[in-house]
């Protein structure tokens, strides 16, 4: 399999000098995300404006070879536009796009070793399933028997065997989406752009396809640039991800980094849920900074988790709901713990745990997820409680500039 791919690369080199994919040191197992990894995609100050409105705004991004990289963000934040520029369907207004070390900013899409799974599928209605999938292979003059074999194999992967002669408009949305995926995957490109490739699949199929995608990726070392609305999908599948907002990067890193240490208020609320409390930076004692909340309490934040450039002393202190322990009001709190008092307003049993809404004296609510592990204390509505969590699970972000906040519709 891998050898076939290697041979094919060399063949490209011979048949089409334009293709920029020749990379003889292309290891069969792309070791994703490690420090020495090769950069496959590089966006440098890429901006795209439509009628003077920026859809993508000064984007800088490096994606390593063999990496599974996701783009997350609300509808209209520029994810599709970013993919279209990398695929070659849109020219950046300014900036540079590099693929495998080569500037492709203005290169035609048919000269790029990139395949796309389009958000709208874009299957050819005049061709049957087999011809749709074989389209890319045929353009590369892959021989007939090999085309048959690979189309058959990829149809197995997407769980649609015996669909070869079906017309694409006789397929359900989910089936069409899987054919679109197969049509791109079968070419085993250097870079695969996927624009919400599983939005039309049910949970079971989606899970199955996620596993397949990951296994194909590790087998042939394709770099995946993946757009999704599904945070869980992004977090479980990705080596790294970015959260975009209004054409800009709001947060970048491994799913754990971005989740545990969100860089902005937007990321903190877009990716998972966060409790955010406004306060003022009071003093720094080495590795720990103390913040006075507007409601009178005091919290500690690791100094390393403070936003880099603070323009004012006002910050928002955050903690994820599942990091908080809920204990009786008279309990004592250990060292290196933050604590807040409140009264349980709503308690909801969710099966895997309990979700509490705890009201502070200031009137603000804090959300707490407690796992259902049979603890004796299960506070009920109206109970006075103490909330505590380790200082290291506390983060601080700059407050969102007013005027920009909350205008996107989260989807």
């Amino acid at each position: 399999m891998d050898e076939g791919r290697y041979a094919r690369r060399i063949q490209y080199e011979m048949t089409d000098g334009q293709v920029n994919t020749v990379n003889h040191s292309d290891g069969p197992t792309g070791d994703a995300g490690t420090d020495g990894a090769k950069v496959n995609v590089r966006l440098e100050h890429v901006t795209k404006t439509f009628d003077d409105v920026p859809a993508v705004d000064d984007l800088n991004l490096k994606i390593n070879e063999g990496e599974f990289f996701s783009l997350l963000g609300p509808s209209g934040c520029g994810k599709t536009t970013t993919l279209r520029m990398i695929g070659g369907f849109e020219e950046p207004t300014s900036g540079r796009i590099m693929l495998g070390g080569r500037d492709v900013t203005y290169m035609a899409p048919y000269h790029r070793d990139v395949n796309t799974v389009f958000q709208s599928y874009a299957l050819f209605p005049h061709l049957d399933v087999f011809e749709n999938i074989a389209f890319g292979l045929r353009r590369r003059k892959v021989d007939k028997a090999e085309v048959r074999r690979r189309v058959g194999a990829i149809l197995e992967v997407v769980d649609l065997p015996d669909f070869e002669r079906r017309r694409v408009n006789q397929l359900s949305g989910g089936q069409q989406q899987r054919i679109a995926l197969a049509r791109a995957l079968v070419n085993e490109p250097k870079l695969l752009l996927l624009d919400e490739p599983m939005s039309a699949l049910d949970a079971k199929l989606r899970h199955q396809m996620q596993i397949e995608l990951k296994s194909i990726q590790s087998r042939v070392g394709i770099t995946f640039l993946y757009v999704t609305h599904d945070q869980e999908e992004a977090m479980t599948m990705s080596d790294r991800l970015v959260v975009m907002r209004q054409g800009r990067i709001e947060g970048i890193g491994s799913p754990k980094d971005v989740y545990d240490n969100p860089s902005t208020e937007f990321v903190a609320t877009f990716l998972g849920a966060s409790n955010l409390l406004t306060g003022e930076v009071a003093r720094r004692d080495g590795s720990v900074t103390t913040i006075d909340l507007t409601n009178g309490s005091t919290l500690s934040v690791p100094t390393s988790r403070l936003p880099d450039q603070l323009t004012s002393t006002t910050v928002k202190v955050g903690v994820r709901p599942e990091k908080i322990s809920i204990v009786a009001a008279n309990a004592t709190v250990g060292p290196n713990q933050n604590s807040l008092r409140g009264r349980v307003r709503v308690s909801t049993f969710t099966g895997v745990g309990n979700q509490y809404l705890v009201e502070m004296a200031s009137g603000a609510d804090i959300t707490v997820y407690a796992q259902n592990i049979g603890e004796e204390l299960a506070p009920r509505s109206g109970d006075e409680v103490l909330l505590s969590w380790p200082v290291e699970h506390t983060f601080a972000v700059r407050p969102m500039e007013s005027g920009l906040s909350g205008e996107e519709s989260e989807s």
């Binding site: 070659g88 899409p109 048919y110 796309t116 389009f118 709208s120 874009a122 005049h126 389209f135 590369r140």
Partner: protein, 286 residues
């Protein structure tokens, strides 16, 4: 009183009930009306077909509209009038050549009009106006002015001028037909084709053209039909090469030979076959 949804609809929406009566009436009026229109449209064609089988008993072999009995004589002797036969073949050649040229040019123009706008296609509005004018302008005016042009530039009238004229008046029809087909065209299909490594030319051949083919064929059919029976323009620019309609017009002043009906019937039948084929094709593709 029952409270089923059906009962409630009947009671509450008066318009529902009001629409009942015309529908019952329509069961009678609409078919009658339709058949009358069809008869009106088909009658001249039927006359032509029927009288192509009519025996001629007078000495001169000319059409007479008394029914003298059935015969295949005119089909057997379809080539017996030399001027008519060569006019017919000239018309066929003319229609084929002008259809091919007009369809190619018209299709490309339609694609350009749909794809490009603004700074990428200056003068697009002007071209659209001209297309409209071309269809709307009286043919007699265009014929006369074409003749003027050819005479002024001293271009000998014949097959070449006929082709030029026919292409000129067919392009607009092809463009309008193909453009209608292109209106619903999903551009991302072409992007997908590029994405999979097809060049622009390959994409046109493998994706764009097959998808707009029904429109292209319909346009070609239109161009062919316009060309094969064009009299007005052809009469101005034909010079010494006389196409079928011009020949028939000339002959009819003396008397129409029955073979004219034979050719008419054949052209009509072939036209019907193509129309049905294109209908079937566009249904299949839709």
């Amino acid at each position: 009183m029952s409270l089923t949804p059906f009962a409630r609809v009947d009671e509450s929406t008066g318009s529902e009930r009001a629409s009942r009566r015309p529908r019952r009436l329509g069961r009678f009026v609409l078919p009658t009306y339709s058949w009358l229109v069809i008869a009106y449209l088909v009658f001249p064609i039927a006359v032509m077909i029927v009288y192509s089988f009519n025996r001629v008993i007078s000495g001169l072999q000319l059409v007479s509209f008394a029914w003298n009995g059935f015969t295949f004589q005119w089909y057997e002797q379809w080539r017996s009038i030399p001027g008519l036969t060569s006019a017919f073949w000239l018309s066929i050649r003319l229609a084929l050549v002008s259809t091919v040229i007009a369809t190619a040019l018209g299709t490309l123009l339609a694609i350009a009009l749909v794809r490009y706008r603004g700074s990428k296609f200056r003068g697009k509005g002007g071209i659209e106006q001209i297309l409209f004018l071309n269809i709307a302008a009286p043919e007699i005016v265009m014929g006369a002015s074409l003749l003027g042009i050819f005479v002024t530039f001293n271009i000998a009238r014949g097959f070449l001028t006929l082709v030029l004229a026919h292409v000129m008046f067919s392009i607009a029809y092809v463009t309008v037909t193909v453009r209608a087909r292109l209106a619903g065209f999903d551009v991302s299909l072409e992007e997908a084709s590029y994405d999979l490594g097809a060049s622009p030319l390959g994409t046109f051949r493998l994706v764009t053209l097959p998808l707009i083919m029904p429109g292209v064929l319909a346009g070609a059919l239109m161009a062919f039909a316009l060309s094969i029976d064009d009299f007005v323009t052809s009469n101005f620019v034909s010079g010494s090469s006389v196409p079928f309609p011009v020949w028939v017009y000339g002959a009819s002043r003396v008397g129409t030979p029955p073979q004219v009906f034979v050719f008419g019937t054949v052209i009509f039948s072939v036209g019907i076959v193509f129309a049905l084929l294109s209908l079937g094709l566009s249904k299949k593709r839709a």
